[in-house]
Every structure is written in structure tokens, then in C-alpha cells.
Subunit: 429 residues, 2 copies
């Protein structure tokens, strides 16, 4: 069975989605806006809601990227839903492992076993400068800290036995030998423990990661229980998928470690209607600012480009001296989609280098199935371009097709995120 | 009007409450247990729910003091209630100000302006050793850090203008001049800002503090918007009250700064029924352990003491060489209440040095009114000995008497905690 998570972000993953008359920008600070979408996703039997995070408000004028904080948001969503998982991004660079372990253990109790942890190491100096650092620690240093951080969090979750509380009113409230210190004294952290929260219902909330760099892939292979990926097309997805699965195996692990690439979808009852939905959002992009941004990506002045003409020829990747990753994505979009300038701006504005599928429910289900059956994905992290209309389009029209084909659950068979993902509950170590 | 907060802790403030057949120890990890009590408190029109916090699980065998984490718990409670305030304890010693500002701002949006912050500096080495310190920073150092921490949090809350988002789909999402960095570069913190969360509905969540030491009282006088106090009896309450009010005035402030002493109540339809409720809990105390604990407090072996005899004579305070504060409380309880050994153990097991009132609803209301009208209290922080029976006793029987006397609201007149407490919304500074 496929796994499907819903990645909620601002007014949608298309940066111009908030400008649409149907957007709910008046409700961005209203928790009921998020609750409505979580209930919709639960109606579609999705595995989980996923929230990203960052520790610095940048480009606040551009879009409603910043508002509520994820752990509080997901706690509220846990009370508006009953079965769907709740995945929270928490940075190992800016929290102490004790706070992280405690917040997630508490959410796992409140949600009765539906918590996931997307561990990130963060990237930007602007984030570091909100938490006492002059600049971001180096990449290798962040990953070394992350691995120690994960170890400490897992040990804190295991500091209470599952059956620590005998619930005998005449004896001890907790069995004396059932709660232990961890006495961690490492390179980055000093943590005596035990945690202030009994062992989470899932044992450990499910550990997600999105490793792209070599350090990230190695950490994912050793530690992650499920993985987010960025894949522009099936060959890229297959390359990542087979690399990670091989590394997981080399690490001596036998658990499934589902891999979920990001997926942007525009769904219509006809191809034309789907394309119209995409065009409607693309046309909301303020073209002057978008061309300025594109100029930074491709290293030349784009301000005079005709929005409705094909993209002018660009220099080959090997001659480009700026950041290569994003430039490679631009070249690939041009090569495979032959877009107009406006279409290119729209593609970059919605999910960037992630896969985009546009079409009828059947044609999108075809392509998802193709990825799923051909070693590209164990499921997808859905990145709806416009909230909540794109969520409804997917849940109401694509999910039923996947269900008819036996690719996706019709009912929840488990009560925990770990159950939805087919992951075993870890014994206390 | 009086202010009343409900301080929820474990199975109640009496350490033996969990042993009572009516306790809900089976539900300590179930958020609905806390939701039920929050709804009960809201039915009684209380100002707020208050949660304490600590960063180390000590004496886990004794009582269910440790379970859910407060910010996640209060977020869940915000979705089960509509008007009651939600006060979260957050330590300035163990969080970064950015995390603290962000979590509380998010809860203030989710709860639509019902958040309070009880700022503490924490006390125990065991807490420090969960967050990277070898031992707890010195008292003066903690208070210096706390004051800088509060400054940074307030400035982060003010980093967005109230009207930053014009909600105009054709312009900028946020007015460019409406969000600013704070560029704090102080003794303890480097924080550039701005916050990732728009300005909270209350401007600033309400700042509570419980200063007892001289540094604590000074910080409270300069910064706190409402204050928790520990007062064993009215003279002690009056001394604290007049000292703090004088310090607030000396700091040039004119806002009301309500002072709320802790209050343990045993309510019965007769004096005898109230005393029976107290006795029922006291008799659940494991006497051997309680006598051992008492031995530590009074510096002598109490193991042979007769539980139902009067407390043997103790040495005067000036001759005692151990911690004087708690010893003074013990002497005072003996002097004023002439308790048996069991009664003394019971008093120490429920709220310790806090005021305890036992009796009918009318007689408890009399004493609360007496404190309120005689410069002892602007209200109380209710510390029910047994959950949730003591909460029901107070809400159903004492609150109506206070309402009849015009001492307590019959309906909420405001939607925010700031409104309930009669505090103005701070303009952005």
C-alpha cells in the first residue's frame, strides 16, 4: 500500500496561492483553518499531516509562510482528529534534546500514538542568529550534533519502562526499577535524565528525515524510519530510492524505511481544467519580482523577458558559476516541459524541484502508480499548490481512484502513525 | 472583583491524593482528564488554568507529579474551552527566548488571547543536568538572565505591528515597514529577530511571576503583570502584599498587578464533613515514608512518633541549623493548629506552606473575603488537594457564595486573560 502525507504550508505551496480570491489569508492565524484541512485529510485516510519549520522569518512580505508554530499547531490538530498521524519538524541544532524529547513524548500521549518527528539540522545564518550563534555551525558539525541528539532523544524516551506505573493505589506510584537515568555525557550534550514524561505510546515517535547530502543520506540510512525525498522526475526518484535502500541494507537494517518524494498536483476533470488551475495561480505571480528572482537563479538579467514566449536559451550547466542545484532544476524543466517564461516562473513558485503532476484523477493515479511500482516511491508527501482547494481536489478525486486500484487504504487499520506506516513498535533498549 | 486561577497538578496537591479510590491515576496520560477539569473551571468562570513546571523527574515513585508537558497540554485545553485563561510556566534558564516567545505567541493565537506566562528561573541541579549544565547557575546569575530573557521575549512579540498584514491580495502580504529585527546582542543572548509569529492577540501574553527572594521581588515589581504568592496566614500575606505593591509603585508603575496567594481548600456541607475529607487524604499517606521525610525537615529522627498524639516539642527556630524556611512553616503549623503528628504530615503533604482553609462554603468564602478586603490578596491560586473532587467542591459550592456576595463574576465579561485580569493591552513599543 502507498503512504500519503499532507504537507501543509501557508496558503499552499504555490507562493502566489494567497493572492487567489479563494485563499483563506484572513484565517492564517485561526487554528480552525488547519483543523478543517486535517479533518479533510483524515476523511481521505491519509497517513499523516506534515509540518515543516524554520527558525527565521524571511521574505515575510512575499507569502504567508510564517504564522503558527508546529508543535502547538499539531497538538491542536490532534484534538480535531482521531487517527491521522502528526509529523513535527524539530531542529537538532536549536533545541536541547530534553525539550525535543519531552514535547514529542507529550504530543504522542495527547494524540494517543500519532506523532512523527522530522529531524532537520537547519541551514540559514538567520536562524542561527535567533538562537545565540553568530552564524550557522558547519554542515559536518551539524550532522555530528544531530546524530548525538537523536541518540539522546531515543534514550530519554526509553528512560521509563512501558509498564512503569502499576496503578496500584497502595504501593509505589512508579516501580522503583522502572525509571532510570541516562547519564549522557557526550561531545555536544550533557543529559542525566530520566525524562519527565512516561514512555510514549508508540515507544518512539516515528523518525522522519530528508537527507540529500552524503552525510544526510548516511544519517537517514542509520536512523530514519521514513524518508522525505526531492525528486523532479522518475529517474531522479529511482536513483535516490535505490541509493537509500542500499545504504539502509548496508547499515544492517531490515525495517521497511518508506521513501516519500514531494508531489505537487493540479487535478481537473479534464487535462484542460487542470492546466487552467495551474495557469490561474501562475498568473497571480507578480512578474517583476518573479523575473528578478529568476535572474538570481540563472545568473543573468531576465527583466525584459516576454512572459508568454518560450524561455531564451541558457548556458550549459558546466559553464554556470552560481549555485548548481537550482540551476540544474531550471535546465531540466526547460528541457522536459518546454515552458513559456510564465510557466517556468510558476513551476519554480510551486514546489521548485519537486515532481509536479497535472491532469485528471486517473492520469495522476497512473503516474503515481508508475512511480510506486517502479522503485521510485513508497508513497508521496503531498504538496498542494493552493489550500484548501487543492487538498479537496486530491482527497475527493485522486484518493478514490487509488483506493479502487487497491493502492491505498479505504479505512484506517491502525490507531498509530507507526501502524499506518507498517513500522514495528520498538522495544525499550 | 476577586481573581481565581486553578492550579492543576498530578492527582491533586495532596501527595497522597492519587491513592484515593476516586483518583484518576488511570487517566494521567489522557488529555481528556485535564480537559474535563478545564471545562469545570470554565463553568465556574475562573480566570485561568495554571500549570507549573520542572525540568527533572524526581521522586517519581511518590506521586503522579510528572506526565504531560505544559505548553502542549494547554494548547489542547485551549480547544476544549472558550474563555478561560491558560497560564504556562516556562523557565528562563533552560529555553532560548526565541523558542519561548514563539511557543507562547502561537498559543496566544490558537487560544485567541488567553495565554499567560509564569516565568521561573528554576532551582535544582537535577534540572540543570538535563540541559547541558553541570549544576544550576547561581541565583543572581539566573535572575540577571531572566530579566534579559523577558526583555528579548517582549521585543520579539513587538517585532510585528498589529496591523502588519493588510490582507490585500494584490499587494504585499506584509507591509514592508511593519516587521522589524530586534538585533539584540546582550550579556546572555544574541537574537536578531523578527519572530516567526505575528504579534499575539493580547500584544503580550500576561506575565506572571512568583518572587519570594529579594531579587525575585524586585524583578516582579519591575516586570510582572500578576503575581503568585506563598502565604501561610493573613499576616504573612499582608506583609508580602504591601511590600510588593510598594515596590511596584516605587518602580513607577500604575497597573494593578494582582497578587494571588496559593490556597488549599477542603469544602464540606458541615465543618465535620470538610475535616473528614482532609482526614481521608491524610490517612492515605504512607506514614513510614512521611515520618522519614519529616525527619529531614526538622533535623531529628521521627520514626517512633505516635501518629495520633500531639507533635512533640521542637527546638526554637534560632537553634535549628538546617533549611530555615520549611522549619519555620512546621513551627507555625504546630503553634497555630496544634495538630497531631498525622495532621502535621497531612498539612505538609498538601501545599506545604500555603494557606489551607477547611470548612463550609460560607466559612471559606468568609475567610477569602477577609483576605481580599484586608490587603492580603487580590484573589487566589486554587490548589485543590484532590482532583477532580476538590475542584468540583469549590466550583459548585464556594464560587456561588462568592458570586452572591458580588466578589466574583457571574459571567465572563472579556474574551482574553488580560481582560479577565483587568490589564490593558500593551501598545507595541
Amino acid at each position: 500500500m502507498m503512504h500519503l502525507n499532507l504537507f501543509l504550508l501557508g496558503a499552499g505551496h504555490h507562493t502566489a496561492a494567497w493572492r487567489h480570491p479563494d485563499s483563506a489569508i484572513e484565517r492564517m492565524g485561526d487554528i480552525s483553518y488547519y483543523e478543517d484541512m486535517a479533518r479533510l485529510a483524515e476523511r481521505g485516510k491519509l497517513d499523516a499531516i506534515f509540518l515543516a519549520d524554520g527558525q527565521a522569518a524571511t521574505n515575510v512580505s512575499d507569502s504567508p509562510r510564517w504564522f503558527l508554530e508546529p508543535i502547538t499547531t499539531l497538538t491542536a490538530l490532534s484534538r480535531a482528529t482521531e487517527r491521522i498521524g502528526l509529523i513535527c519538524t524539530i531542529s537538532s541544532t536549536f533545541f536541547t534534546p530534553f525539550h525535543a524529547a519531552r514535547l514529542m513524548a507529550s504530543l504522542d500521549h495527547i494524540s494517543k500514538g500519532r506523532t512523527g518527528w522530522n529531524v532537520v539540522t537547519s541551514m540559514f545564518d538567520a536562524e542561527a542568529r535567533n538562537h545565540g550563534y553568530e552564524s550557522m555551525p558547519a554542515h559536518a558539525e551539524r550532522y555530528a550534533r544531530a546524530e548525538e541528539f537523536i541518540d539522546v532523544v531515543l534514550r530519554l524516551w526509553d528512560s521509563w519502562a512501558d509498564d512503569a506505573r502499576p496503578l496500584d493505589r497502595s504501593g509505589d506510584y512508579v516501580r522503583k526499577d522502572a525509571v532510570r537515568q541516562i547519564l549522557h555525557h557526550g561531545e555536544h550534550f550533557l543529559v542525566d535524565g530520566p525524562l519527565t514524561v512516561p514512555r510514549p505510546p508508540q515507544g518512539h515517535p516515528v523518525l522522519f528525515q530528508a537527507g540529500a547530502s552524503s552525510e544526510g543520506r548516511e544519517l537517514a540510512a542509520r536512523r530514519a524510519e521514513a524518508i522525505y525525498a526531492v525528486a523532479y522526475d522518475l529517474p531522479a526518484a529511482q536513483a535516490y530510492y535505490s541509493d537509500i535502500k542500499a545504504r539502509v541494507k548496508a547499515a544492517g537494517r531490515t525495517d521497511p524505511v518508506p521513501i516519500l518524494p514531494g508531489l505537487v498536483t493540479y487535478v481537473g476533470s479534464t487535462e484542460e481544467e487542470a492546466r487552467r488551475k495551474q495557469r490561474e495561480l501562475d498568473e497571480l505571480l507578480p512578474s517583476e519580482a518573479a523575473l528578478r528572482q529568476l535572474g538570481l537563479y540563472v545568473g543573468r538579467d531576465c527583466s525584459g523577458w516576454d512572459l508568454d514566449a518560450p524561455v531564451p536559451a541558457l548556458m550549459p550547466l558546466e559553464d554556470f558559476t552560481g549555485p548548481k542545484g537550482r540551476y540544474a532544476t531550471v535546465l531540466r524543466i526547460i528541457e522536459t516541459e518546454k515552458p513559456t517564461v510564465r510557466q517556468l516562473l510558476g513551476r519554480l513558485a510551486a514546489g521548485g524541484g519537486h515532481c509536479t503532476m497535472i491532469g485528471t484523477p486517473e492520469s495522476i493515479a497512473d503516474r503515481m502508480e508508475h512511480w510506486y511500482r517502479n522503485g521510485g516511491a513508497d508513497g508521496f508527501n503531498l504538496m498542494p499548490p493552493a489550500l484548501h482547494s487543492s487538498v479537496g481536489d486530491f482527497i475527493d478525486h485522486v484518493v478514490p481512484v487509488l483506493q479502487q486500484r487497491g493502492l491505498f487504504r479505504r479505512e484506517y487499520e491502525h490507531d498509530t502513525l507507526r501502524g499506518h506506516l507498517g513500522l514495528a513498535r520498538p522495544p525499550r533498549s
